[in-house]
Amino acid sequence: MKFAVIRFPGSNCDRDLYNAAIKSGAEADYVDYRETSLDNYDGVLIPGGFSFGDYLRSGAMASVAPVTAAIKKLADEGRPVLGICNGFQILTEIGLLPGALIHNDSHTFISRNESLKIVNNQTAFTDQYEHNENVIFPIAHGEGHYYCSDETYEILVKNNQIVLTYNNNPNGSRNDIAGIVNEAGNVCGMMPHPERALETLLGSEDGYRIFDSIAKWGDK
């Protein structure tokens, strides 16, 4: 597996994501947002940060960047796309995932270790976790409140697209949603940072299995 770690101006978790991919035995390259082809890659990792300074809305400017069409093409081909934090915001802005991320209810930026539950271990991102396993991933966001319409929520439930929920909802997200997948199951977005949870020494290694899972995507 070879991953493209997309770099937008203002991305700041790109090195963590690159490190996570390498640590799990995959290959990875940093790919500039002006690239128009991802044909040499098996998957895409969209890092957190503040792409384009969050101008207009989080992820809005990234949604029209040159690389976006290539990300959509790769997603349509069924290859894995994982967007974390700002990456999740970007995936909703480009329409690969439903809903939107709005300001935390408190309107404060929240940075802390968060207790989460893997509510769906039937995805190719979470198949190494137990059902309803509790994990600790850091969160660091000001706009992480997952919003969607009643209709969208029903679809998410019906298709088992909700992957990760907060045990102590920090931001007002609908039904504690912290991460979802698309209907096909190959595009995943989450606000928490599993790429910052790879070492017990640094607080948690609970995130590692996500990257180990997608590194083995080709074998699935």
């Binding site: 207009l56 809305r57 809005a60 949604s63 029209v64 909703t92 802005e93 439903p98 809903g99 939107a100 709005i102 300001h103 935390n104 209810d105 408190s106 309107h107 409140h145 919003y147 969607c148 319409s149 007002g172």
Partner: protein
Amino acid sequence: MKKIELIVTLQEQVLDTQGEALDRAVAELGHNEVSNIRVGKVLYFDIAENDNEKIENIVKQLAERLFTNTVIETYEYKILDRETF
């Protein structure tokens, strides 16, 4: 050439945390008669077209593609009489 005023606001049912904070701030200022503040944004831009139908198509297309997120926001616009500021 026409100047456009595009007003973007959060949809009614979407929580506006900035508006809530301002509600509390104006109450602190003693204005208890003021409530339900909603914060939006306004974009001004010029379009090098004079045909209103073409202008409306361009504005709607850009509003829905980039300027707003129609999952959470709504917009309205005016074609201003003056050509430019």
